[in-house]
């Protein structure tokens, strides 16, 4: 049986690409490095858009990365069902690409924030969260400058009604996100954007927990069974 091949896109300024690849490897996938300027998804089975500050986030976070050549391949593939997980800056790129609704604004505190965050998984039906159970609580790091999720009233209502809020902050909302939203999914459940960093909670030696591994084992199991 071949391991699931999961691509990780490196944009100029991507920072957590190595971490995402490590977490994928720990989850049993074969990580594949993808370069933003390429035009080929290299036949991967799923994609992770990693955290970082693509193009320095000097414009809106993610606003420039969405125009990368590889995104021209990725967007239609995602609409056709390719599993995509955007973490932090990757979440921002997904919103800028309109694969996910809403936007991520600078933190309410106007400070970068890095902390071990309690979360609750609200939707365990996506391809990236199937290894969790709904209501399960996790501790994984959150670290961002522009992590405040916002959307118009109508979109929020729709997200909530459809159960498309994947994860929510508990105890303390670190960035002022509406409805304590930490992550959302598209209607089909194949595209997930997440502000916290599950790849930093994949090893007990270096993370506050190993609670983040589930995002990666979820996709590995899904790809193996399909």
């Amino acid at each position: 049986m071949n391991a699931a091949r999961v691509g990780v896109i490196t944009f100029p300024g991507s920072l957590d690409d190595i971490d995402a690849m490590r977490a994928l490897r720990l989850a049993g996938a074969e990580p594949v490095a993808l370069w933003h300027a390429d035009h080929d998804l290299r036949g991967i089975d799923a994609v992770v858009l990693p955290g970082g500050f693509s193009y320095g986030d000097y414009l809106r976070a993610g606003a420039i990365a969405r125009f990368a050549p590889l995104m021209e391949q990725l967007v239609p593939a995602a609409r056709a069902g390719l599993p995509v997980l955007g973490i932090c800056n990757g979440f921002q790129v997904l919103c800028e690409s309109h694969l996910l609704p809403g936007a991520l604004l600078p933190n309410a505190s106007r400070h970068f924030v890095c902390r071990d965050q309690r979360l609750r998984i609200d939707n365990a039906d996506t391809v990236w969260t199937a290894d969790y159970s709904a209501g399960q609580e996790l501790v994984i790091p959150v670290k961002n400058m522009d992590g405040r999720y916002v959307a118009d009233e109508e979109t929020l209502t729709e997200l909530e009604a459809a159960g498309r809020v994947v994860a929510r902050y508990l105890d303390l909302n670190p960035n002022g996100s509406l409805n304590d939203i930490a992550g959302i999914t598209n209607e089909a459940g194949n595209v997930v954007g997440l502000m916290p960093h599950p790849e930093h909670a994949a090893e007990s030696l270096t993370g506050p927990s190993t609670d983040g591994l589930g995002f990666f084992t979820s996709i590995v199991k899904r790809l193996v069974t399909t």
């Binding site: 490196t10 100029p12 300024g13 920072l15 957590d16 690409d17 190595i18 971490d19 690849m21 490590r22 490897r25 990580p31 594949v32 490095a33 300027a37 035009h39 955290g51 970082g52 500050f53 193009y55 320095g56 986030d57 000097y58 414009l59 420039i64 125009f67 990368a68 050549p69 021209e72 600078p106 505190s109 106007r110 400070h111 970068f112 924030v113 890095c114 902390r115 790091p141 670290k143 400058m145 960093h197 790849e199 930093h200 994949a202 090893e203 030696l205 270096t206 993370g207």
Partner: protein, 985 residues
């Protein structure tokens, strides 16, 4: 030394204590402030520590956030509820003898006010609180430095340089408009200066935004070529005056330049010599002392590259090497906190890249004025946001450091940044330009008018009035470009494309070209016209002095140039061939086809002036030392001890720094094993090779690790700089050792006042000697460092502040120890001997604002013994936690370990409770012993001659000292975290 030596309590007698407590309750005797008059036994933890109401609870937030203009918040140092009898006299400048009558005592008969007549805890500033200190930044000025406003305002600035093609093209050749204005003939231009024939050939230039080489742009406002001060011109006009004095050069130094050249220098040559012979670049005042680090270097096989290169390199085993260095960016951080601190990180990171290493983490040692001073309010948030904004964007975890408040740093904050990098032994790179014919490539950001305040003197004196406009003297950072530079350099190294490399920092192109040439074959030809400019109006002198950030210079064999440029293009890093290595022994530079520099490079790089400056102990030293803390009244009963524990835990230097550290990414790269507030930062060493496209190797991650700590104590060094430097080393060594690591090597950042002051020079000489002697004793070499002089305001110097970094190795990082008390029912043991030592202590500082006597006794043998015991105990798996004892003594160590692990403890104090809790004797640690390990630990201690005292056990939800007091963790937490709130505005 000034007559009014600056120190913690060097308050000017002109200003009564109430100068420093505006916003607090009246301090007049008998005028009891409103509010709680005694510590309530309330379970509400806040009550015990809140400064006088009503303003007090907000004070900490205001102190670090943005207080209303003109309102001085209550000093957060001020737990108002001093015990009735624990009422020290108003504290006075240390330089003044304490009045006999003023000596407080714990008679228990003190008058009833529940707090001292004058709150003693706010040390007066060395000068009155400066509205005057920083008039242009007071009050609301903090606002521009908050991240929302400051880190991101450069959209236009970056967008023009680094925005990739908005509509990507095949091959991803960004089809951008030229970054620089296209060359065009200005209206008034007479056209007599042709585009130099030396303009870079197209194949040697990569401009992501401008595929065509950009020839120099003549300007209408610019005088014709006759203004260029050429070498020929210098020969013909030997008497033409040059503004060397304005550039900081002494008469005899200028004469020496003339001697070396056999003529007067050109203005471009003067630019080079003036910056290369500056204190900052030449170490002319410190050199004679710093030699001790080499002369007294211990025998070690670990040192692969010693001092003199961009950073030292040490062998950590398994084929891995580590390079690390700390550097100051003090003055820029005072002028412009965000950019000053940000570019401080950027500079030290490039030093690490230059060694051939991948940077893997940063740390920072920060010192500010009093936590409640308005200017601290301006400087601290900006510095923290700058360090975070730059380091976070680079993807470098910030794993530790220190934040210290003291009045002596009020107008002279210290921002010392450390970077550590890893590499394989065979990948070490050098700053050298060997091989005539090899090409010199400048790559990274364009050269702009950053940091060339000095050069404008030349421009104005030598050229027309129009160019005399002030240039900015603080550099502006672009962390995105630096991130690209890191990855680009690592790919260049992986393909072995460079024979020499140097980063551009202070003195920019001047420094890189002279140092590379001097360390190589000896000659270099540089065509300054080819330097890509952000501002085409720059004069050659300005190009030479510009400190624009994110630039590197490489020496590349001619047949590798094409591949070099290709990799730069992949990373969208502009790269330009600007010159060639020669065998002439001369550094020659041309501008518009004329020779403007022709010097032996070694004379600028290595043969600068060396001064043996006079030194003598500061006049007030004996007086300060004679004023021992023995006279200070001590807490005499259980309740006073309890309150002192809380008081210290909530004082600025000991309080939780989460508000600061939560603005730093500590997780990125996934190798952070321990980070602040732990004693040392600990990293796993593992690096996926660039050859695999960054994909981590399939093999199990390495278990090799390193530990790093950065420590200093200006108060100790003020009392005894020789011991002070050794104590800083001791603490860093101990911090590394308590994680279970084996200390291996040392870096240092020596922050002092003016070397022209004999008192300061004496402090410096003593500190260097102390550090060199101690490194020899401990067997760990100094691998490099940095000296920062002129840290003073007027004639008042800062406390001498040697900041010492120690690197240690974990052969198996999975065995590292945390300081957290997290395992119930483990035994607590105090290792080391506690003496009655309060000179320079946090207790004396916090409670009395007192600095006097002598610092704790240095005992390097005991430090080494302690480290060996812990190392052996870790190998045997005996320990569950360990925490070093330093500032605040055992009391603070227990507070921190309990809060870190979320478990309390129950201890019995072996000796005098006050001394046991608060003394700062060295070579001590508290360890948690796993059940069954007690006797083996005792045996290890006995063999090493380390005193081991059983203290008690971990467990419960309070810190309990048997027979004396108990403090719930919730109350401790409130005290510890109240001051610097973790999510302040």
């Amino acid at each position: 030394m000034s007559e009014q030596p600056p120190n913690e309590h060097g308050g000017s007698p002109d200003h009564g204590p109430d100068q420093h407590v505006a916003g607090r309750p009246p301090a007049a005797p008998g005028a009891e402030p409103p509010g709680p008059v005694a510590i309530p036994e309330s379970p509400s933890p806040a009550a015990g520590l809140v400064a006088p109401p009503p303003a007090a609870p907000q004070a900490p937030a205001a102190g670090l956030g943005a207080p209303p203009a003109g309102v001085r918040p209550a000093p957060p140092t001020a737990p108002s509820d001093l015990p009735p009898s624990y009422s020290p006299a108003p504290h006075r400048p240390a330089a003044e003898p304490w009045p006999e009558a003023g000596a407080p005592e714990f008679s228990g008969t003190a008058p009833q006010p529940s707090r001292p007549a004058v709150p003693p805890e706010a040390p007066p500033a060395a000068e009155p609180w400066p509205e005057a200190g920083a008039p242009e930044f007071s009050g609301t000025a903090a606002q521009p430095y908050t991240p929302a406003a400051a880190p991101r305002p450069q959209a236009g600035y970056e967008a023009q340089s680094y925005v990739p093609a908005a509509e990507p093209q095949a091959g991803y050749e960004p089809p951008r408009a030229p970054e620089q204005p296209a060359p065009q003939a200005p209206a008034e231009w007479d056209g007599t200066i042709p585009v130099p024939a030396t303009a870079a050939p197209a194949d040697s230039v990569y401009h992501p935004q401008a595929p065509e080489p950009v020839p120099p742009v003549p300007r209408p406002a610019e005088p014709p070529a006759t203004a260029t001060d050429t070498v020929d011109g210098a020969r013909n006009t030997p008497d033409r005056p040059l503004p060397y004095v304005e550039l900081g050069m002494k008469d005899d130094e200028y004469e020496r330049v003339k001697q070396i050249l056999g003529r007067r220098p050109t203005s471009a040559e003067l630019a080079i010599y003036s910056v290369m012979w500056s204190e900052h670049c030449s170490y002319k005042s410190s050199k004679v002392h710093l030699r001790q680090f080499a002369d007294k270097a211990p025998q070690t096989d670990a040192l692969l590259v010693g001092m003199g290169e961009n950073a030292g390199v040490v062998d950590v085993g398994q084929g891995w090497a580590v390079t690390f260095k700390v550097e100051s960016h003090n003055h820029p951080s005072y002028v412009e906190p965000y950019q000053g601190a940000a570019t401080g990180v950027g500079g030290i990171v490039r030093d690490i890249i230059s060694m051939g290493a991948r940077p893997v983490a940063v740390m920072d040692s920060l010192r500010f004025g009093p936590a409640d001073a308005p200017d601290t309010n301006r400087v601290l948030p900006g510095v923290v946001a700058g360090i975070g904004g730059y380091g976070n964007s680079l993807g470098l975890p910030n794993i530790g450091g220190e934040v210290v408040f003291d009045p002596c740093y009020l107008q002279n904050p210290l921002v010392n940044a450390l970077c550590v990098g890893v590499l394989k032994h065979e990948d070490i790179k050098r700053a050298t330009a060997p091989g005539p014919g090899n090409q010199v490539i400048l790559f990274g950001a364009g050269t702009g008018p950053d940091g060339i305040g000095g050069a404008s003197v030349l421009a104005s004196a030598t050229f027309d009035e129009a160019s005399a406009q002030k240039r900015p003297s603080v550099q502006v950072g672009d962390p995105f470009m630096e991130k690209l530079l890191i990855e680009c350099c690592l790919e260049l190294f992986a393909e072995d494309l460079v024979v020499g490399i140097q980063d551009l920092g202070a003195a920019g192109v001047s420094c890189a070209t002279t140092e590379l040439a001097a360390a190589g074959t000896g000659g270099m030809h540089v065509d300054l016209d080819r330097v890509p400019l952000r501002d085409p109006t720059l004069r050659p002198e300005e190009i030479l002095m510009s400190e624009s950030q994110e630039r590197m210079m490489a020496v590349v064999e001619p047949d590798r140039v094409a591949r070099f440029l290709e990799i730069c293009a992949r990373w969208e890093v502009p790269a330009t061939v600007i010159g060639e290595v020669t065998d002439t022994g001369r550094l020659v530079m041309t501008w518009r086809g004329e020779v403007i520099v022709d010097i032996p490079p070694g004379t600028a790089a290595d043969e600068g002036p060396v001064y043996e400056r006079p030194y003598a102990p500061p006049a007030d030293l004996e007086q300060i030392r004679a004023d021992t803390p023995g006279r200070l009244a001590r807490p005499s009963n259980a309740d006073e001890l309890r309150r002192t524990v809380l008081w210290l835990a909530g004082s600025p230097n000991l309080a939780s720094k989460t508000w600061v550290t939560s603005q730093y990414d500590r997780y990125v790269r996934g190798n952070t094993v321990l980070a602040m507030p732990e004693d040392a930062g600990v990293l796993r060493i593992t690096e996926p090779s660039a050859a695999t496209g960054g994909v981590p190797p399939e093999a199990v991650e390495s278990s090799l690790g390193i530990a790093l700590s950065l420590d200093g104590n200006g108060r100790y060094a003020r009392l005894d700089p020789y011991a002070g430097a050794q104590l800083a080393l001791s603490e860093a060594y101990r911090n590394v050792a308590v994680t279970g690591a084996r200390p291996l090597a040392v870096t240092n950042c020596l922050n002092f006042g003016s070397p022209e002051d004999p008192g300061v020079m004496w402090q410096f000489a003593q500190a260097v000697e102390g550090l060199a002697d101690a490194c020899l004793r401990l067997g760990i070499p100094v691998t490099g460092g940095n000296v920062s002089f002129y840290n003073q305001t007027g004639s008042a110097a800062i406390n001498p502040t040697p900041v010492i970094g120690v690197l240690g190795v974990h052969d198996d990082v999975r065995r590292r120890l945390s300081m957290a008390f997290a395992a119930e029912n483990t035994t607590l043991v105090l290792l080391g001997q506690t003496r009655e030592e309060f000179g320079g202590s946090e207790w004396a500082h916090v409670v009395y604002g007192h600095l006097g006597g002598l610092p704790p006794l240095v005992d390097l043998q005991a430090e080494a013994a302690l480290a060996s015991v812990i190392s052996s105990a870790v190998l045997d798996g005996l320990l569950a936690a360990a925490h070093d004892l330093s500032d605040g003594g055992l009391s603070q160590a227990l507070v921190e370990s309990c809060l870190r692990g979320g478990l309390g403890c129950r201890v019995t104090l072996p000796g005098d409770p006050f001394t046991t809790l608060f003394s700062e004797s060295v070579a001590r640690a508290v360890v948690a012993v796993r059940p069954g390990g007690e006797s083996r630990l005792a045996a290890l201690c006995e063999a090493a001659g380390v005193q081991a005292t059983q203290l008690g056990v971990i467990g419960g939800d309070s810190l309990t000292v048997e027979g004396l007091f108990s403090i719930p963790l919730s109350e401790l937490r409130e005290a510890h975290e109240h001051l610097i709130p973790s999510y302040a505005g």
